[in-house]
Point group: C2
Chain length 184, copies 2
Amino acid sequence: MSLYIGLVHYPVYNKNYDTIASAVTTLDVHDISRLARTYEAKAFFIITPLVDQKELVERIKAHWTKGYGASYNPDRKEALQLVAVVESIEEAKERIKQSEGEPPICVATDATGQVGKVIKFDRARDLMNKAEPILLFFGTAWGLHRQVLEDSEYVLEPIHGPGDYNHLSVRAAAAIILDRLVGR
Amino acid sequence: MSLYIGLVHYPVYNKNYDTIASAVTTLDVHDISRLARTYEAKAFFIITPLVDQKELVERIKAHWTKGYGASYNPDRKEALQLVAVVESIEEAKERIKQSEGEPPICVATDATGQVGKVIKFDRARDLMNKAEPILLFFGTAWGLHRQVLEDSEYVLEPIHGPGDYNHLSVRAAAAIILDRLVGR
């Protein structure tokens, strides 16, 4: 398995389906880096073109990997070490290509299941077991721009519980999806 | 299925294993209420004896169920309606007994797997399918006090990914556990 996670802050939608660059939520950085470490992702890309947001994430990472946080909580250090701040989806893909020798297969996540080449969890789990690097995208705000879904090789089917309500936070969705794809 | 969720702020441990009452994290209220709605729990108890923390949760709930938030985001209203603030674990159990006619079977969650009657996810999933009400406890801060684990009928085995790292946020752990116990 060669799994990479990308948390996309641009391009995403706001509530009115305008295309925006969303702000970084600091708890996303913590929660999803701990998930990345638990499910053995090779890196967790925070994708944002906004300079102040990149700096914010770098400060959080430095605090927990080199600053006081590193000795206060070594488990958090192991998680935050996986964080890499990048400008764009293209930059994330390029970085993976440089370290793996081939570009990743992109798998986007989406609560609608209406756009792109939608695949079921079983099929995505099979993909994880192959040698190719996989880049798994999660959207922030009101979700990934449809261009990201269309440009990805696959879009993962939505999460449902017993019923039809599927309005989860990205933190909860990432937890469930990683457990379904990579959990024991 | 008759599932109830309890997020315990007392008694829990701090980093030095002193017994404390932790502060409420507002994102826990949002993320776990959305999980409760997705996985069709009957109520989500926020358990804290601290008066200011109870008031904080009541304010959040009122904003999203009766205030501006209710019209701004009806999906959030559906989730937050499940929130009930209670003083203690005993009060949560008593409320369930009043509405169900019998007390719940308590299932605690714990990252160690060393205390109490530990059961596997398969067995716990079977429990969910029976008629008895189940109260599933999640701990905050450094985890549930061992008395809670010992007093519960069962303690769920810890979550692991492919390896041994298991330092997840309570939001991520609740997501994975609910999906494993109740997911399609």
